[in-house]
Subunit: 348 residues, 2 copies
């Protein structure tokens, strides 16, 4: 079968690899229907951290179950399934607390499982799924093809935006600002409005992204960045700032912008993988600005978000503005690297 | 009248100063019944930051109202009042959000108000109180003398411990650890139990403080510090750590200890004024450990905490293990500096 392999900085290829087979009793083998490229995939694509050898990549996919191990009870061959971006047993103490990304038995696509067996990346044709019952969420029936992009976002990008909002404490009536106009930031706008935020400010300089932010419910757009951007957000919210700011980038500058946009007593929810972020703790302390978030436990949120996707209440798949066949995966990376695409879907 | 003045590092004296008078319409003049020394007073006492000239000090007091300005509506001469450690109008947008320490018109005892008029410190005989209606909380009747120490803690130390617990999200059934066995840490133990925490671990190496922690409801004591202490906390809580950790010291070491004691998805509530704290953001992100807290908006909490103090449900004044007359204030500072006293009450 074919799978995406990152060989070196910006050298990414669709290679022929071994077809995965069931190894553990709890495994499933899933034929991928669609996968996608994540903003976080761009870090290794750009050589951060340094690539030491060919590595599988991709952690967002939906597909059809082909086979299951003898210990699998709820997932059946033929099921259409959503794979969250981490696999997890859904039974350990941390899964029960809703932190599936810290599952004591879990792991991440493209890396070995805890027994040392390789686990496939998501940007390929077939994937061995550990803990199939714990990891996968099957839809009640085979979805219409038009729903596939929206279901695919439940792997990562929509729950990640939702996690930013939940971690920051967004609730009915909240005043929210979102830093970052990538697919996660745009999803965070959608998630905040879904949770009842009364006013959401999207921070974006790009017209196409501003447009999608508005479609996702953003009430206002701030095009300025840094201190000027934060000042504009504070002005919008009574001169004091937003109750919650959703930081969806992960750089030192974006975090500073988020902190300065937050009102005293407010909270930053962050889901951008941090690179070089340093926090001004005395300033946070003096203003009672909290920070919460992290790597999103997507599995914990799918049950809540799936019904709204199935009935069309939300259309998170609008973040995909490029759709390619898997053999064009390298073009997809290049588009996202150059920011000519917001997010790229890869179809089989 | 006499008031405590810090002249230089560890040079603190009770000096004769001008008797304060009403200046603004909203002022009250309060004769202090009791005040106390805060752990945070020890920072300037130790010369951090450098003392540039004689400065008033003390921010926790209770007293009797002597006089009020023409604009004061709810506070009356003769009232027994609790003064939170910041003055605030209780009407601005940030006060309405419960962040009275960020009041747009407020300030701190011992420093000038926003009009530039000096405001007295709390460790003196008489204090001019700006925004008397907003700042002060009067008890329903004159309290019995035995209640005074407990009421005095509502100025700062008990609401500050409570703020750590609230910021961290302590609720019924929580597993909690408290870093710091000073008066704030001990108050945090009491606050966490009051909020319904099922198990509270106090981290303390001192037998007298361990004893008080147990009286305040601590279920277990961990005497180890640093990595060993955090490891012991994790062992107590299923090997994963506490749901909430209350950081009540403010040093780099105590924050590290707090972070390492927190389970994935948990939260650190911090109220120790941070000195040299640096956060490992990637580790927080990977484990979804949040941080919230800051300078406690004591005023926001007094209404909730006062009834439990008045009816004896909680006895937070147990933190005072030294009681001196005001003219012994220098001895009080020395005791707290040398950690021979947990917290010192100063009576008039």
């Amino acid at each position: 079968m074919r799978a995406t392999v990152l060989h070196a900085t910006r050298d990414i290829r669709l290679d022929d690899v071994d077809v995965p087979k069931l190894i553990e009793d709890g495994d499933a083998v899933v034929r991928v229907v669609a996968s996608c490229i994540c903003g976080s995939d761009l870090w290794p694509y750009r050589g951060l951290p340094e690539i030491k050898g060919p590595q599988r990549i991709g952690h967002e996919f939906v597909g059809i179950v082909e086979d299951v191990g003898g210990g699998v009870e709820t997932i059946k061959p033929g099921d259409f399934v959503i794979a969250p971006f981490a696999f997890s047993d859904n039974t350990c103490p941390l899964c029960r607390l809703g932190i599936h990304t810290s599952c004591v038995n879990g792991g991440f696509w493209g890396f070995p499982d805890r027994s040392g067996h390789p686990v496939d990346g998501g940007q390929g044709e077939i994937v061995r799924v550990p803990f199939a019952d714990g990891t996968l969420v099957a839809t009640p029936e085979q979805p219409d093809e038009s729903l596939v992009p929206h279901l695919l976002t439940l792997s990562d990008v929509f729950p990640t935006g939702h996690h930013a909002a939940v971690s920051a404490g967004v609730e009915a009536g909240s005043n929210v600002a979102v830093v970052g106009d990538g697919a996660v930031g745009l999803s965070a706008v959608l998630a905040a409005k879904r949770l009842g935020a009364s006013r959401v400010v999207a921070m974006s300089r790009h017209e196409d992204r501003q447009q999608l932010a508005r479609e996702f419910g953003a009430d206002e757009i701030v095009a300025e960045r840094g201190k000027e951007g934060a000042s504009a957000v504070r002005e919008i919210f009574d001169g004091i700032g937003a109750d919650q700011v959703l930081e969806c980038v992960g750089t030192a500058d974006s975090m500073k912008q988020a902190m300065l946009s937050t009102r005293p007593g407010g909270r930053v929810g962050y889901v951008g993988v941090p690179h070089g972020v340093e926090l001004n703790v005395p300033a946070m302390f003096g203003r009672n600005v909290g920070l919460a978030g992290g790597v999103a436990p997507a599995r914990a949120y799918i049950d809540e978000l799936l019904p709204d996707v199935l009935d069309g209440t939300v259309k998170p798949g609008r973040v995909f503005d490029q759709s390619l066949s898997l053999d064009k995966v390298a073009d997809g990376y290049q588009s996202m690297d150059e920011r000519t695409a917001i997010k790229t879907m890869l179809s089989l």
